[in-house]
């Protein structure tokens, strides 16, 4: 192969490294006004009155309220419960009420100071527990935004067969995406009377959908263009539909281009977060290590509006029993509404929470029967022919065991684990060493038959003899716009240098579905393989020397050649959404992590010394980019495990700045060992599966288990801070 499997440098790399690239904030738009948003500062209440200070000259600025929205006042997702601008009710701190645009940022800010809102405060619900108890009903009949049940076998029978039953409860909190580029969008009137909306966004067609329904315009009058993006991690999946509407409304009303760029604190307060969770486990196990039953309950906090929560919860509960053989599983899941900021998509999409719970719990179960964590996992790890909790039969591409075996031997796990256990109780050691393991997977693409929506992508021959990939999927730093051309070039049999990706503009590229769910390489890549086959049939023999000349000549003789194809769901996929039963995903990527830590025995500071990560991606189209995902995602997991903590008081994050919201620095990064396993997926392009989210799923429990190995302290809520370790240590030593 000439392109696939090669470490082709990122096509956007040079411009980014040299600072040439223009993010939305850098794009110079002549005569552009700046927007500001007036927001709720209470978690729940009725708007009594909006006061526009009479002393202020309102003629110089433009303001909008919900009354300026001609169509539907809602973002269009699964259920349309989130208003673009609050009407008479606010349900979380930071909810937008009034929009302002002015010729300068300072003028807009000044105007903002002259608007005050009067409320009738309502009794807010600010935690999963309060929502579950129905302290107040703030959503539907029972505060539940979504619920699922997954059943396989008979857990009662399973528990009866067990020698031991082990229970546990595990919690995680809000998690901030911390993309380096804050959210920002601009709306620019077009010469033809239409409007272009551009900015930092993952899913141009999502934004378009809301714009069309709220503005009552069709796609000839409005287009959405992705600007180069400084990170997203899921945080720019649903939120840009709101921000896009803000700039569009202001621009239409003022007739000016309008830009809104969030400051870091505004971004942290108002944009989505990872769902906080409470996961409980009850596991039946035999003395020989056979798991006889798993009963799992997953509770997520959805925040004020449901946005993407139903699908996040679905992915969470489907992954909650993990990569283990077990005949009897029973999983329940609920997503609870609160008056906190809506939680949404975040790399991993519900899976990191359930794997943190499961992989810590599995260590506890193994310990109960006196088995080591690795032997227990090796015994129970799924292989081809096994069935997951949704009864999905694993037919091919199952690298779980190989990943496990490879990390265990690369890190010399067994020996170190035993040795640390022996020294754990030694009082004289100032530093305790620990090693921990996790085994996990991530379903590629949409849940169930979700990919049956027939996403489109295409290839276009350009005048200069190059070929462009046409897709509505975006590159947010993950490298897809290098990987997709590699796939297209390989399929066409042309040099990779001849293929690029067109800027995602809804006026130019087809709707490929959103850039989410680790689906771009696998789904869009496989459409491109089919496009290439079709294109090849039209083109002359490309085995000749000067392919570029050949293509140029073809173009000058035949004109533009464009091939658009739709995704075809593998026919054998069967999914019952109601019962959450069947083939939950076309395929899974598998992985295992080993974390090695040093814990200061007195200050309880934790340093992660080394992370060994093995992933089965089917086929690494660009191995260096796969390693980049493994390292970056796992580092993000490290931050979530040890330091990242959104502290909310009365619905508002207190630490809404990077001074107090602590993320890892380069110095906190460990030594890495990455191992790529390739068990090809027959429906993936050249066998490829997804990798984008997987690396965030397994880091936290591996680190937590390593800390337990080092100290004998099992912290069941994230982040595992020295403060929590010390108080648990104190508690244990007092009782003795």
């Amino acid at each position: 192969m000439k392109s696939v499997g090669k470490n082709i440098p990122r096509l956007d790399g040079y411009d980014k490294v040299t600072g040439k690239v223009k993010y939305v904030d850098d794009i110079d738009i002549p005569d552009c006004w700046r927007g500001e948003v007036v927001r709720s500062d209470i978690p729940y209440g009725r708007i009594k009155k909006i006061n526009f200070d009479k002393a202020f000259d309102w003629d110089k600025v433009m303001t909008c309220t919900y009354k300026d929205i001609p169509g539907k006042n809602a973002t269009i997702f699964l259920s349309d419960d989130q208003p673009i601008l609050a009407e008479n009710l606010v349900k979380h701190v930071g909810e937008a009420i009034v929009l302002i645009a002015a010729p300068s940022a300072s003028k807009a800010l000044e105007a903002k100071k002259h608007i005050t809102i009067e409320y009738d405060t309502l009794d807010s619900v600010l935690s999963i527990e309060d929502s579950r108890k129905r302290k107040n009903v703030i959503f539907g009949k029972d505060n539940i935004q979504a619920k699922y049940k997954i059943e396989k076998g008979d857990v009662k029978k399973g528990f009866a067969e067990a020698d031991f039953i082990v229970e546990g409860e595990y919690r995680t909190g809000f998690h901030e995406h911390a993309y380096i580029e804050t959210q920002g969008m601009a709306a620019i009137p077009r010469p033809d009377g239409g409007l272009t909306v551009t900015g930092s966004l993952q899913c141009p067609y999502y934004v378009l959908k809301t714009l069309k329904s709220a503005l009552l315009l069709d796609e000839t009058k409005i287009n959405v263009v992705q600007a180069p993006m400084g990170g997203a991690f899921g945080g720019k999946e649903d939120y840009p539909s709101l921000l896009g509407m803000y700039v569009a409304l202001l621009s239409i009303k003022s007739g000016k281009p309008v830009k809104i760029i969030y400051s870091r604190d505004e971004d942290i307060v108002v944009t989505t977060k990872r769902h906080p969770s409470i996961v409980t486990h009850k596991t039946g196990v035999k003395k020989d290590g056979t798991i006889t039953a798993m009963e799992i309950d997953v509770a997520f906090e959805g925040g004020a509006y449901s946005t993407l929560s139903p699908v996040v919860l679905s992915r969470g509960v489907i992954h909650s029993a993990g990569a283990y053989k077990c005949e009897n599983t029973f999983c329940t899941a609920n997503c609870y509404a609160t008056n906190n900021v809506p939680t949404g998509a975040f790399r991993g999409f519900g899976a990191p929470q359930v794997f943190y719970a499961l992989e810590m719990h599995i260590d506890k179960v193994a310990e109960r029967i006196g088995m080591s964590p690795h032997e227990f996992r090796l015994k129970n790890c799924v292989e081809v022919g096994d069935r997951l909790s949704t009864t999905q039969l694993l037919k091919e591409s199952v690298g779980a065991k190989e990943c496990l075996e490879k990390v265990l031997s690369a890190a010399d796990f067994g020996k170190k684990w035993r040795n640390n256990l022996d020294t754990c109780a030694f009082k004289h050691l100032r530093t305790k060493k620990g090693i921990g393991l996790s085994l996990y997977m991530h379903g590629g693409a949409f849940t169930g038959s979700g990919e049956g929506m027939k996403s489109e992508a295409g290839l276009r021959l350009n005048k200069d003899g190059t070929i462009s990939v046409l897709t509505g999927c975006t590159d947010m730093g993950q490298g897809s716009h290098t990987v997709l051309p590699q796939i297209a070039a390989e399929s066409l049999g042309v040099p990779a240098a001849l293929v690029n990706t067109a800027v995602p503009d809804t006026a130019v590229v087809p709707d490929s579905g959103p850039t989410v769910a680790s689906r771009t390489t696998m789904i869009i890549g496989s459409i491109l393989v089919r496009c290439a086959e079709k294109m090849k049939k039209k083109l002359p023999d490309l085995k000749k020397r000067d392919v570029k000349e050949l293509l140029k000549t073809y173009y000058s003789e035949h004109g533009e050649l464009k091939i658009i194809e739709r995704y075809i769901l593998p026919p054998e996929i069967k999914w019952d959404q109601e019962k959450h039963c069947g083939d939950a995903y076309p395929v899974y990527s598998w992985a295992a992590d080993v974390a090695e830590v040093s814990v200061d025995a007195e200050t309880f500071e934790v340093s992660v010394d080394k992370l060994t990560v093995a992933v089965d991606v089917g086929r690494a189209v660009n191995p260096v980019l796969v390693e980049g995902q493994m390292e970056g995602g796992t580092l993000q997991a490290l931050g979530w495990a040890l330091m990242e903590d959104c502290i909310y008081k009365n619905g508002k994050p207190v630490n809404n700045r990077f001074q107090t919201y602590i993320i890892p620095t380069a110095k906190d990064a460990p030594e890495w060992k990455t191992i790529i396993v390739e068990k090809p997926f027959s429906y993936g392009p050249f066998g490829a599966k997804g990798i984008g989210e997987l690396p965030l799923d397994g880091g936290a429990p591996a680190i937590a288990n390593a800390i337990y190995n080092a100290t004998g302290l099992r912290i069941t809520s994230l982040p595992i801070t020295p403060e929590k370790l010390y108080s648990l240590y104190e508690e244990k030593n007092k009782i003795k």
Partner: protein
């Protein structure tokens, strides 16, 4: 907002006496973040960064004089500091990371008056004198008298911090700077401390009280006995009583109290 850029020290003092309510800008690494976040609302700025007269590090007999505008990097790299007050360089090395050290000044760290300022326990443990200047003249204050309460200093509105005067440390003395922060770099202290043992013990902490503090009771105890393992345990117990930390966004009072003791224990074990 008005922005004044005096050309020399005299002009700076004049501006400050004319505009006592303007914020002084040295490196700006504290001031700018406070202004951006809306915590510091100032009418104007007086930019004193780079004014040479108060940016030098000099030897003066038994004393070392460090200008308030000396940058943290300047201190880290200075030969006099590494010879006569190495512990100050050790503390400055833990502040932020390279960029902050290149820009931030020692005077800024002191005048910002955060109880978590990492250089402050060093100045306390070394019984520093501080020179304050105004258009009216100069005065010296003892560093231990400088902080009147949480983020309150003894400086008048028209005064600038000019320099820090510190007795050189002697050859035989033992010292340490220790810090437990939120991560490995760009990390604000949960607890920081400077310990000395020369003719007597000096123990100073940051981040465990509304101001940086000296622990006189513990010092007195250690100075009055032979330091063995029992004495060390007792000193640790005493110091945990003497600090008065609180719960905040970075840590808990309970943890800070514990760590304050751990750090002292480590110092006593090493001397």
């Amino acid at each position: 907002m008005e922005f004044l850029s005096p050309k020399n020290l005299n002009e700076a003092l004049k501006f400050k006496s004319e505009h006592p309510d303007f914020t002084v800008l040295a490196g700006g690494t504290d001031a700018c973040t406070l202004i951006n976040s809306g915590i510091l609302k100032s009418k104007g700025l007086i930019n004193i960064y780079g004014i040479k007269e108060i940016a030098e590090i000099k030897e003066n007999g038994d004393f070392l004089e460090i200008g308030a505008l000396a940058t943290l990097t300047q201190i880290i790299e200075n030969r006099l500091v590494s010879k006569f007050l190495p512990v100050l360089a050790m503390a400055c090395k833990t502040i932020g990371a390279r960029q902050i050290q290149n820009r931030g000044t020692i005077g800024g760290n002191v005048m910002n008056a955060s109880p978590a300022g990492d250089a402050l326990p060093v100045f306390l443990a070394y019984e520093t004198k501080m020179e304050l200047l105004s258009a009216k003249g100069s005065r010296l204050v003892l560093f231990e008298k400088f902080y009147a309460g949480y983020r309150k200093t003894a400086a008048e509105a028209d005064e600038l911090a000019a320099k820090f005067i510190i007795k050189k440390c002697d050859d035989k003395e033992r010292f340490a700077f220790m810090k437990v922060g939120t991560r490995r770099a760009q990390s604000i202290s949960k607890v920081c401390a400077c310990f000395r043992q020369s003719s007597s013990y000096k123990i100073a902490y940051g981040s465990v009280a509304p101001t940086p503090i000296r622990c006189y009771v513990t010092e007195k105890f250690l100075n009055g006995c032979k330091t063995d393992a029992f004495a060390a345990d007792e000193a640790v117990r005493l110091v945990r009583q003497e600090v008065s930390p609180m719960d905040d966004i970075r840590s808990t009072a309970n943890y800070r109290r514990h760590v304050a003791g751990v750090l002292l224990k480590r110092f006593l074990e090493s001397v």
